[in-house]
Symmetry: D2
Subunit: 316 residues, 4 copies
């Protein structure tokens, strides 16, 4: 058995140098962060991996928009599976509106009267969601009507993404790179009602079963398959579930603050997914890291360290 | 300011007598449980309420199948908004298969080899999900083909429910009572792949935007609107979101173990929903209870106590 | 393997009838609540058990003062192991001051200016803690000076308890019944500074090692040993730790909302305690219940149901 | 209102460069990590601060032993307030035994039979705690007997520390630097029983009220006072509580995974401490960071970034 290594800190050490100390420490959540860097480095370096990233919680408004965009742009992920909200917030920024640094220490009735919505400590002007109705309407108008009849959700998000004029956009980066964005609960987002109203006046019909065509092809074609699971919800489940078609993932990291004890999939450790055929045999100890924590305080360190580790592999 | 009441216990006290002690205590999660009984009693007694119940986490396999069925059968809820999984597990029981009392203290690789899936401490035979493919296929065959083209998810669940022969079924009870079941992420369930495979051979096309027609009608028509929010995920968000069409809910209770601090909607307190127009003004203190906890250990007490309180109102 | 039982609710069912339904359900936290009732019934019925109860978190101000008092008064527990705070709050009530039903939705700077302290949604007048200084001073004055030199903490709490004139007091009930109250971190309470100031003027010297004499005797003498672990902290650890002197507890329930994943003992499941010799072999599955949840919303149900179950045993 | 900054990652960026990106993002837990670096930089740079660090949870066995030692050695902290366990684990390493990288995925009964104790995923040989009895006995023997009669806990820990021959030891570093280590629940550690047994044969009497003398002097003398609160329990409360003697802390960061909703102090946000006079007025927004998370995965980044930021201040 290996000894717990005692972490040594230095001023101006790189993120990768510190996560390597944590990997050697080997225990607690710090040890898992270190291990996650190794797993991600393998996923990103080995071309035989098809890599899925799942997004739940307010990651785009929480400061991770460019982190996600760059993972797409740099070719590190092959598919995104997201809640609807992160794509809505990507559009919010793409249309020139923004998210504000707020506080939880606030009178919510007054805040609402002053024209703000709140997600934890992020504020957003309420009229943003009025404006987005017109914005999305114009984008949808531009999609040829014949393509709007029975469109898969990933196709729709592709059509939107390729019509955006914002280099910082996740949707645009994915469209540019032809990386599909799946969103099984997409209509349960702030675009649900606007798109429904649109469909009352002009043609717009979604066909969500069609999304399975591409998803299934991707997991069938994958030589190896990996997942970066950020949060729970439908994005996590959908990604794990589709992998039952191929005896499970070959590698995965997850970051979640959800409880194990209420039995929901959001909090389920990767260990449990073995029993569903969602994770391949004998991968648990070496190729997975189940990290307890909040995403914005952990994932940036893991990605920065992974980029560094990959550079070192190349240069060595 | 009211003093904290000190709870007094007695042998053979009824559930309602104990939750009334907790209501008087007035603080901590116990106080909120007591308050939730009052709020539910109002929702269930006052016919002007349209009441939504949302289901996330393994509630049907966790022992709450009849609790939910009875809320439907007895006319206490007017709409169900659920993750897909609870409906799948309702079908599992309806087709004569079952859920087993397992343990978390298990070797998951062996468990899988022995033919079981695990959700926390619930076991289920893996071949159940093979069998369900044929079972659902026959049910769908029986739906007239013209109705299978562009079907809303609540319509599909109604068609399934009315074809079940199991009085304990949530789906059947809802169909019998014409209570709609909405499930915005329905295809992200163990039926997603079977239904997709079905759609490759026979006609089956879902139109999820169509679900908004009925949902919107319900919230527009509601004189008052209430929600019982069990867990987070798309069911919680969808229910709150549709209420932006009518300036918010009039009353709500929620039970969740999700964290506030990761900013996800699953953990958001009802207070935050004021800023989104999902909860009416001046309702927070009197008409909401945000309860931290796990559902199966709390919700049965609240419902049993509510039934008792309603009986007392009637008889007094 | 047993099937998950589906819980059936009825109006005016007793608490014990409902927890029995939950026990039969057998899974999730509801199942553990049901199981805890069985374990407590055994502890309370079988005289060979020495039963410890541990108290952390604001249980006395949270409405459980009489619940704890009655467990002592009725002879169900043989020792209390508590944080200091619960005893301070017991004194607050004993001197005629009280705790108020507050809210978390408050401006804390204003609240403080208005003379209130806040613990979650419990308010308490700040001057209560000025008044308690004189109150405790008089009580200590009344303890013969020779007894104040090298006094164990449980002896001190006994001396205080027997001088209180409040039948609702936990301290008094314990003194009356000669049930020891241990508090390994007692001086880390709102009495720490007042007692330190007292010791600057008059004789008062604590000897905390002396507490081990009685604790050790109790676990050595116990034929069987059980624990009701409410929350974490020093009370939980101390109780488990002292049982290393006798190869561990024979039975235990715990209710805690602490995370497993940060490695602290507060969140550790009873399973882990096996490896420390704190829980006897082969007891885990039958004689323990590790419940995730908040105490005031769960423990009253367990106790009321246990009282009922014991009555039924007697009358049958 | 400031906009949420979108974090930009680069390979080989330093830890401080990344936490600065997070600080600018300004929201969610990532934003709080960034803010904590600023607060710590102020505490460490401004000599008018007296800085307390509190330790709960398995930090020393979890890989943070040298991180804590260096904060002491480099003069950044003026007092340590700790649970007993971290000091026991420091002694374990000092006597040449160690902690092992284990797993939570284990049969605990077998693990115990094989001679290991487990704390989450950290393993330790059970006989370590037999050996420590002799080890501590010899150290205590070496303390002059007259000093062992009525010794404060911080004095005892100083006597132990100065007798250790291990440059990596927290206890030794603190003794060398004359930094006091307070531990209000010290005897509730794996040394409680060995020290009690020792006291049965030779003189050893603790006087815990005596610890308040130095603690009170420190907070009275502090021009400004700051706290680094790692975890909850008695170390957190004790540090906050002693600051009621001076109208509260001037600055504080805390990292905790404990819930707010069970009302325990462990989970209480720094905001709540205002109402107890534990945090000075008008400090909340600028001088505190309440971080939700697990310590080993977050604190090393904060410290490394703080060291870097201080170097930059010096060199600029």
């Amino acid at each position: 058995m290996k000894k717990v290594h005692q972490i040594k800190l230095r001023s101006t050490m790189t993120v990768g140098e510190l996560t390597e100390e944590m990997r050697l420490a080997g225990v607690m959540q710090g040890g898992r962060v270190g291990k996650a860097v190794d797993i991600l480095t393998e996923m990103f370096s080995d071309n035989s991996y098809t890599t899925f990233i799942t997004l739940s919680g307010p990651l785009v408004p929480g400061g991770l928009r460019l982190v996600i965009r760059d993972l797409i742009k740099d070719g590190y992920v092959d598919a995104v599976v997201t809640n609807g909200a992160n794509m809505v917030h990507d559009l919010v920024e793409a249309m020139g509106r923004t998210h504000y640094i707020g506080t939880t220490n606030v009178d919510d009735e007054k805040l609402f009267e002053n024209g703000y919505n709140r997600a934890y400590d992020i504020f957003i002007e309420s009229d943003t969601f009025v404006e987005i109705e017109g914005f999305i309407g114009k984008l949808v108008d531009d999609i040829p009507e014949e393509n709007r009849n029975g469109i898969a959700i990933h196709e729709f998000l592709y059509e939107i993404g390729k019509r955006l004029d914002d280099d910082e956009s996740v949707l645009k980066a994915a469209a540019d790179k032809k990386i599909p964005i799946f969103s099984p609960g997409f209509l349960d987002s702030m675009l649900g009602i606007p798109l429904w109203l649109y469909s009352k006046q002009k043609r717009l019909v979604f066909n969500p079963l069609k999304d399975f065509d591409l998803l299934a092809d991707m997991v069938f074609d994958a030589e190896k398959s990996g997942a970066i699971i950020l949060g729970g919800g439908t994005p996590k489940h959908h990604t794990q579930y589709i992998h039952t078609l191929r005896d499970g993932l070959d590698a995965a990291i997850q970051i979640s603050s959800a409880r194990v004890e209420d039995g929901s999939l959001s909090g389920a450790p990767l260990k449990e997914s073995i029993t569903w055929g969602k994770l391949r045999k004998n991968k648990l100890e070496e190729k997975t890291a189940t990290i307890f924590g909040e995403i914005t305080s952990i994932f940036p360190f893991i990605v920065a360290a992974t980029l560094e580790k990959m550079d070192k592999k190349v240069s060595s």
